[in-house]
Symmetry: C2
Subunit: 107 residues, 2 copies
């Protein structure tokens, strides 16, 4: 279980950036976007966006396929699901702790 926790930190870290969060928001809603498309509207450089995409890719939130002269990025849900499980675990532990406290006070 702590092994799983260890594996999740990088996913959280990858989500810990505004730019990457907005990339995820775009990619989870529609099909593949090219790097240029994802750069449109951003104040950042194409290279900066590329770096962010590689970070997301490194933890499996996204994957890329090179087609012709452009590389298309697509969302991948698994890591997000994993991380949600961890958060559910935390919430559950907390609820149980509250329950224990409550029954202790009532005695």
């Amino acid at each position: 279980m702590p092994a799983k926790r260890r594996a999740r930190a990088p996913v959280f870290a990858a989500l810990g950036d505004e730019t990457r969060l907005s990339l995820v928001a775009k990619l989870c809603g529609r099909r593949p976007y090219s790097i240029s498309q994802l750069t449109q509207g951003s104040k950042l450089t194409r290279q900066a966006i590329t770096k962010h995409l590689r970070v997301l890719e490194s933890v499996g939130i996204v994957h890329s396929v090179r087609t012709g002269r452009e590389s298309l990025f697509e969302f991948d849900p698994q890591p997000i699901e994993g991380v949600k499980q961890y958060l559910d675990f935390v919430s559950e532990q907390w609820d149980q702790a509250l329950s224990r406290l409550k029954s202790f006070v009532e005695d």
Copy 2:
């Protein structure tokens, strides 16, 4: 909505570290821990642990109360819940995208 997303990046970032994840895991399960207690078993210095706790505190995942000569840290669930909402949003968008793709293919 993008304003909310902006506010969530720091929470994800705070969770994007193994040490802090394990601190959260401890704190969400039982009541207050002092800094010394949280340092027990860790290979890190008390000061390092303190810094991590301050990071968690800065995004509201945890709060501290000074009692006597020790300061006790306690878990706070709200930021985690907020972040879960964001992840649920992402999952939902993705599911909808899949649905649209499916009905497109079926036509």
